[in-house]
Every structure is written in C-alpha cells, then in structure tokens.
C-alpha cells in the first residue's frame, strides 16, 4: 500500500517582520491510504502547519510534501486549488459553513466547483451524505438554524461529498461539547471504515485521539513519534496524559 501523503524533511518558517519563526523543523511523515490518523501536540507544536501543508493551502519552506503522488512544491496556485478540490476534504474547527446558503447548498458547493456531475446526480449524492450524517430532514435549513454538532455534521458531509482521498480535520471537536464531539468522531470513523477515506485530524483532546489508529506526536515543530495500532496509541496516550510533551516511545 503506497503512501497517500509523504512528507520528507519539511521545514516551514514564518516571518513576523524581521524575525523568522520556525513552525516545523525538519519533519518526515508517511500516511498510508485508509488511515485514521491523529496529529497530537500542544498549542504551537506545529499541528495546524502540518495540516496546512498536507491540505495544500500552504507550501513548505524546504523539503518535500507529496499529496496523492504530487509534489505540492512544484504545483502552481491553480493546480494546488484543483488538487484540493479533487483530493482533499476539509473539516474546520469553527465549521466554516457559508451562512447564506442552505445545508443542502453548503454540501453541494464543492460539487458545483468540480462541474463533474449533473443536477440529479448532485442531488442524489448530497442527499445520500446528509442521510449518512443524519441531517436529511434539515436540507433546507440555514446553518444558523442548526446546533454546533449539526453544523459540524454538515461540514463533514461537505468534506466527503466529492469522495476525496483525504479528509483533513483541524480540531474538529474543539467547539463542541464532549458528547457531540464524540458523535462527530464516531461519524468520521464509520465513514473511514465504510469508504476507506484517509482521515488526518489534529486534536489535543485525548478522548478523540483514542479513536485514531495512529498518532503522530509533535512538539516544538519536531516529530516526537508515530504510534500505529490501538495498543501503541493507548500506550502513547497514557504517557502524554501525564506529560503532554512526551518522549518518543521506544
């Protein structure tokens, strides 16, 4: 099974005026297809930067980021956008739904950008996904008529509507209460299992991390370790719950 995401010796630096702030300092990571992987780490550890690089919304200062076999550093802005549209689905911390569109239209939106399906096909696809996230009856509602959990479920549906290879979720449960957050993670997990879509999400919520089949731990822009398998994840999390910036497992 080949890597869907391949990160090699990536350095990402931001310049704040004259000061150069390193966000990632030489990180390498391989993500396999179908993984349900959590990027863990405290604030400022580089989680979001890593997701941005994988999500093609940002490019590395040095090193190589390959997404679905394409070297993102060598793509034009236009091609990066196309890559995002066709390969990646996004779930945001604050849902980021378009407030003037209905639930249906929000989910349909990426399909409209793609221009691959006709109206009937789009409708079928959107309704199927809304069914799966349990919001078929809310298709005509506007986001502000929904609860936080419902909104995030709409966002999940939107992320999956184009049948992307990768879904990136940045702190998907941070704005939700724990029960709702749990439900969202369950939803994501079941979709991961049904469709084999690769899920990469950042979180600092241990309960959320427990569901991952792999955990990538970051601290200070460096990779602290990568645990794959439930046992390893559980073990790693145990350590982290004591000391958030844990040492890499042996």
């Amino acid at each position: 099974m080949g890597s869907i995401v391949s990160i090699r010796d990536v350095v990402k630096e931001y310049s704040l005026g004259k000061v150069v702030v390193p966000a990632l300092r030489g990180v390498s990571l391989e993500v396999e297809k179908g993984e349900f992987i959590s990027i863990a780490g405290p604030s400022g550890s580089g989680k979001t930067t890593m997701l941005n690089l994988i999500g093609c919304v940002d490019t590395a200062t040095r090193g190589v980021v390959e997404v679905a076999g394409q070297d993102t550093g060598k793509l034009t802005e236009r091609k990066l956008t196309a890559l995002r549209l066709d390969t990646i689905g996004f779930i945001f911390q604050s849902f980021n739904l378009v407030s003037v569109l209905t639930v249906f239209q929000n989910v349909e939106f990426p399909l409209l950008l793609q221009r691959k399906l006709n109206g009937a096909q789009r409708k079928a696809r959107v309704m199927q996904l809304l069914e799966q996230v349990g919001l078929a009856t809310h298709a005509k509602h506007r986001p502000n008529e929904l609860s936080g959990g419902q909104r995030q479920r709409v966002a999940v549906a939107r992320a999956l509507v184009t049948e992307p290879q990768i879904v990136l979720a940045d702190e998907p449960t941070a704005n939700l209460d724990s029960v709702t957050g749990q439900a969202i993670i369950d939803l994501m997990k079941s979709l991961n299992q049904q469709k084999g879509t690769t899920f990469i999400f950042s979180t600092h919520d241990y309960k959320v991390m427990q569901h991952a089949n792999a955990v990538v731990r970051l601290a200070d822009g460096k990779l602290q370790g990568r645990e794959t398998g439930e046992a390893a994840v559980a073990a790693a999390l145990k350590g982290m719950s004591v000391a958030p910036v844990a040492q890499a497992a042996p």
Partner: protein, 712 residues
C-alpha cells in the same frame, strides 16, 4: 455552469439583504437610473421635437456653405447675435448638379438667411395721405382708383371723418405729452416745440381754416405732428432667401395659410404665420386671441387667479391707444355707439369705453371676444402688413451701403405640425433674386441694369405720389391706405430710376436657371434616408474635395448654431449630473464592498480551501454587485419608465415661451426609446463592475489559510 451561477446569484441575493448599506447603495443606483432614463428620454424627445422644427422648417438634413466663409453657418443667429459672415457659393448650379449625383441626396435648396429691421408705417402719415387723396378727389386731381366713385356728400363725410381722426390722434398725443411731462419731468426745447405744435392743431381755428389751404395745413401736420407719433415700433424680421419653388416642394409640410404661394418664378415674400400673428397683429387683438386660446386649451383654465391671463387683461385695459389711433371720426362714433349699447353706459370718452370693454373676466370674455371681432375688428387694420402689401426691406450690403428691396407679400405660411413652434414660425421666406439684390450680389437684373447704364439709359423722373401708386397699387388686396410695413419710403423713393425698376421686378418671371445660376450663401440638402446623415455629410465633403466645389457640409444641428447645440449642452449637463451620482455611487459601492469583503475573508478563505479558484471568487464578488445594481437599477428603470409613460400620456404643457420654443408646440409628449433603457442598463453594469473591481481583486487575494484561522 447554470447551477453554479444560480448559487452565485443566490449568494448575491442573500447578501443583498444582509446589509443596511446595500439599501443606501441601492437607493443611489435607483435615483441614478431613474434620472438617466427620464433625463435621457426627455432629452431625446426634445431633440426629436427640435429636429422636427429645425429640419422641417428651414435647415433640411444637411446644410452646405462655402469653405471660404469667415464664420460658421448659424441659421438662427450666432453667438454674437449677428449673422455669420459667409462667403458666397458663386456657382450654385454646379454644386447642385454635383451633389444630386450622390445616391442619398434628394434635393438641394439654395438659401441665404438674414434678418432686417422693418418699421410699420406711421399712423399719422397714413391718415394724412388718405386725407390728401380725398382733397385731390375734391379738386378733381384723383390718382387713387379706389376713390374714383367718391363725390358729393359722401366725399364731404369722408373728409370730415379723416379730419376727426387727425384731431383724435392729436388729442391722444396731447395726453401723452402731459403724462410724459409729469412722469418724466421732461421739459426740453423739443417737448416745448411739440407742445406748441399740438396746441396749434388742437385749436378750433386751425381746423376752421383747414379747407381754405388743405395742402398747406397737411404739410404742417406732416412736418410737425407726424414725427411726434412713436407708434411705429421697430420689428426685427428674419427671412431666408431661397428658390421659393423648390422650397415649397422640398419642405413639403409647408402650407400657405393666408393669401397664395408666390407664383412660380416670381419675386415675392411669404410671412411665417406664427410671426405674423405674434408680431404683426394689433396687440389688443392678439391678447384677446391668447386669452381665448388659453381658455380653449381645456385643463379648466380660468382668467381669475391666472397670472398670465390677468396680465394680458391688464395690458389690454391699459393699452387702447393703438385702437384709438387707427379709427377715424366715423368709425370712432360707430364703435362708441356699439360699446355704449353693449356696456349699457352713457360714457362718451372713447378711451374709457375701451378700457371698460377690455375689462374682461371669465363671465364676459367670450361675449366680448365675439363682439370685438364682429363689431370692432372690421374697422381696424388688424395686421401691420397685409397680404398683397409691399414690404420694403433695408439691409446693409457687404460693401456697406444701404440697399433696399421691395417685395410683395403674397401670403402667410406655416409648417404642418409646427404651427405653434416659434422656432419654425420665425423664419419668413423671400425669393432668391430679391435676396441677392438686398445683399449686393450680382443678379441677372443687375447685369442688365449695368448694361443699360452703359448704353446711357435715361433716368425717368417719378413724382412721390406716382411712385407710391406704382409701387403699391398692384396687389389684389391692397387698400388705399395699405402702405403699412413700408420702411422709410422717402429713402426708397429718392432714387429716381429705381422705382420703375422695382415695379418691373415685381412683375418679372424668372426661370429656374436664372434663380439657380448665381450666388447662394448656403443651401439645404434633403436626404432620402436621414439615418445616413453622417455618411452623406462625409460623402459631400469628399465630393467637394474631389471636384473642387469648395463647400462644406454640416448637419442640421451644427447649422442651427447655438440652438442646435442646446440639446448637446443639456445632454452634457445631464451626463454631468448622472456622472456625479454614479461617481458617488461608485465610491460608496467600492467602500461597502471592501468592508463586506474584509468581513467575509473567512468565508472566502473557506471557499478557496475547499477548491474554489480565484476566478470563482472574482465572479462571486462581481455578480454580487451586478445583482445589487440590477435589482435597484431595474427598479429605477421601472420608476423612470412609469414616470415617462405618465408624461407621455398626459404631456407636458409649455407654459412659457421658452418651453414652447423647445417643445416645438404647446405640449411635449415625451417617449422612451429602448435606447434610453439600454443606456441606463449599460451604465449600471459598467458602474457596478468598475466600483467592485478593487474589492473583487482583494477578495481573490484572500488566502485559503484564512479558513484555518478561528474567529476570536
């Protein structure tokens, strides 16, 4: 694609009502489009009504004139008020032949436009001339065929009536002098002399001895009293010298109203009916007409409380002098009797009677109007110039000396549909030969005359009396005293051979070649297809270049001078006004969209992250403003269209002379063309797009990273 657009429009529509500032922008766009539609429609309608007047009356579609001209052609007078100095086209026949080879040229009508001052005859002079004629009849020296049958008591009665008329005039003048002395404190040698003369002729002794030396007494009156009368006001008359035959054919809406058209090839003059009514009619009669027209107009207009009509009534009450001066003793007595009966009064003072007669109100107006035309008007000379009279027009020739021509007035005319247009109704028509004479251009007659002079032709002495008859006796409607309209006949008659010469000219018939082979100042070109005006102008100018015609073609707008530019100026003002509205709109839209964009960076960033290209974001912002512009623009267009259709069905009444002038009539029924709406639409689209350009570009610069940032 369509679904995408639907979503874009949906986003736009929903954002439209999301922000209060959009309603302000919308309001401005609404006002702007409404103004564009109404203003554009009004100006186009004005343009059409004016072009109808200008093209249909004198200008034709295109005017041509010599390239050697010092000034530009201005048919209705130029910037300085004077006539433009045009070089003559010396060989018009050649020009005409050449132009008529162009496919879109229908006809070419030769012209020259100018104006001159004329004075109507002095009332005293006219009365005295008639009295002199009557005395001649008494003495068996009659020269006036109209008076041939007069003798015995009828003659005595006529003489007495004319004498009473003179005494009546003297009374009026005495009154004037007394008033002038009080009001103006005028007490000069001149006024004293006038007073002395008036005192002498109002003395019964003067009249008792009148019959013993009528000619001596008449001479005293002519020399001392006639100059005191100032009723002969100057009148500026504008005319086009043209080939009357082709003019009548080419300007086919021209209709002869009174009299007849000038017989083919003849010299002659036609007065514009509008000008005739407004400037040559007895003022009291004209005012009665104006009041009647206003009352007949509908709209329930009444005299009471209407400032215009009340002013007309007041003027009629105060200005009865013209009527009094015109009536001789017999007629005065008749009118006084009739007025006493009508007004049921014993009043004997004529002026007082007239004043109370002209005191008209909504109850008695129609009765008084009918009475005036039935009882008083037939005794008056209603017009200063009558059909059949000869008109003497003096002008300065190019070389600076005064030249005058005598032309017979054959009738009055107007253009169908433009009867009430002061613009179309201000230009009288004169034959081209007289025009050339007047401005010192060589005509075939002049050539002959010069030949004759060289051959040593004898000058024939013409007495003053004879000359007058020779000159004015020929008209079919001319009455004996109908020399009104003649200007300064002394100067006219001082030339010895000229009088006979002039008489010949009136009778002479000219061939088309004679009329057209000669000097012409400008010419109207009538087109087959007016829509191809610009192209034809270019064709004419090219032809002139090629054949060396030295002529320049201009459109009727340019030819109309300042007047033609009016619409252009009005359009510029409108464009400026609309421009200001839209610039303000642009600035506000720009700011508002900038704010909206900055507020929505997360949404835009999200769209970008999800996979929207920059072009999509650009389209989204543009569509948003376009929708805003269209929604309010269409509302504004609807409002403007509604307003225009209201105006179109009700019409705008011309309440002032100036409005009359531009409306080419009493009412403007403005119409809206598709062009006006399309123009408004285009303006909205351009303004909306331009004003959103900067915010739209900024929106495309929003990074997809913005989606990852949480709003704190």
């Amino acid at each position: 694609m369509i679904a995408r657009l639907v979503v874009l429009v949906q986003i736009a529509l929903r954002n439209l009502f999301a922000s209060f500032i959009n309603f302000i922008i919308g309001g401005i766009i609404l006002v702007g489009t409404c103004t564009t539609v109404v203003g554009g429609g009004m100006l186009d309608s004005l343009d059409r009504s004016m072009s109808r007047s200008v093209i249909g009356s004198v200008a034709g579609h295109v005017q041509i004139y010599s390239t050697k001209s010092k000034d530009e052609l201005a048919l209705f007078g130029g910037m300085t008020g004077g006539d433009p100095e045009l070089a003559a086209m010396t060989d018009f026949a050649k020009v005409k032949t050449a132009l008529e080879t162009l496919p879109n040229v229908k006809t070419v009508v030769p012209m020259g436009v100018s104006g001159a001052l004329i004075t109507s005859g002095n009332t005293v002079d006219l009365v005295l001339a008639r009295l002199r004629d009557l005395y001649k009849v008494r003495d068996g020296k009659n020269v006036n065929p109209d008076l041939a049958d007069l003798s015995g008591p009828a003659l005595t009665e006529q003489i007495a009536a004319q004498k009473a008329h003179v005494r009546q005039i003297v009374n009026v003048l005495k009154g004037d002098y007394t008033k002038a002395k009080v009001l103006l404190k005028k007490d000069t040698e001149e006024t004293r002399e006038g007073e002395e003369a008036l005192a002498r002729v109002s003395d019964d002794g003067f009249w008792a001895g009148f019959d013993t030396d009528p000619y001596g007494s008449l001479e005293y009156l002519e020399n001392r009293i006639a100059p005191l009368v100032t009723d002969s006001d100057l009148l500026f008359i504008r005319y086009a010298g043209t080939n009357l035959d082709t003019f009548q054919q080419s300007f086919d809406r021209m209709r002869v109203i009174d009299g007849q058209k000038v017989p083919e090839g003849h010299r002659g003059f036609l007065i514009a009916k509008f000008f005739y009514e407004n400037n040559m009619k007895l003022k009291n009669a004209r005012r009665l007409d104006q009041i009647k027209e206003a009352l007949d107009e509908g709209n329930n207009r009444v005299i009471k409380g209407d400032p215009v009509l009340e002013r007309l009534v007041k003027e009629n009450q105060a200005q009865t002098r013209d009527v009094i001066l015109q009536l001789d003793g017999i007629k005065t007595a008749q009118v006084i009797a009739a007025l006493q009966k009508l007004l049921k009064t014993e009043q004997t003072d004529f002026a007082e009677l007239l004043t109370s007669f002209f005191t008209t109100d909504d109850q008695n107006f129609r009765e008084r109007y009918d009475f005036f035309y039935k009882e008083i008007a037939p005794k008056l000379q209603l017009y200063r110039v009558k059909v059949g009279d000869s008109l003497t027009i003096k002008a300065f020739t190019k070389s600076g000396y005064v030249q005058s021509v005598n032309v017979k007035v054959y009738g009055t005319f107007s253009f169908e549909g433009l009867e009430k247009s002061p613009l179309a109704g201000s230009m009288c028509l004169m034959d081209l030969m007289s025009f050339r004479d007047l401005y010192g251009y060589l005509t075939t007659d002049k050539l002959e005359e010069m030949k004759a002079l060289k051959a040593g032709a004898q000058a024939k002495e013409v007495s003053r009396e004879h000359a007058e008859d020779d000159l004015f006796g020929g008209g079919d409607v001319v009455e004996a005293q109908a020399t009104a309209g003649v200007i300064d006949d002394k100067a006219q008659l001082s030339g010895t051979g000229q009088a006979m010469h002039q008489e010949d000219l009136v009778k002479r018939v000219y061939s088309r070649e004679e009329i057209e082979n000669g000097v012409v100042l400008n010419a109207a070109v009538m087109l087959k297809d007016p829509a191809r005006l610009k192209q034809t102008i270019a064709d004419i100018n090219a032809l002139s270049e090629k054949d060396g015609l030295s002529i320049k073609a201009v459109s009727w707008q340019d030819a109309a001078g300042l007047l033609g530019q009016f619409i252009l100026v009005a359009k510029l003002v409108l464009f400026f006004f609309v421009g200001v509205i839209f610039v303000v709109a642009m600035v506000i839209i720009n700011n508002a969209m900038m704010m909206a964009t900055l507020q929505r960076t997360q949404t835009i960033g999200t769209m970008r992250a999800i996979g929207a290209q920059r072009s999509f974001v650009l389209t989204m912002v543009l569509v948003e403003t376009l929708v805003l512009g269209l929604v309010f623009g269409v509302l504004g267009m609807g409002l403007g269209t509604g307003f225009m259709s209201y105006l179109g069905s009700h019409g705008i009444n011309a309440t002032t002379d100036i409005m009359y002038f531009f409306f080419s009539g009493p009412k403007l029924l403005p119409t809206l063309s598709a062009g006006n709406l399309i123009a408004a639409l285009v303006i909205i689209l351009v303004v909306s797009s331009l004003s959103t350009l900067i915010p739209a570009v900024i929106a495309t610069r929003v990074s997809p990273l913005r989606a990852m940032q949480t709003d704190e």
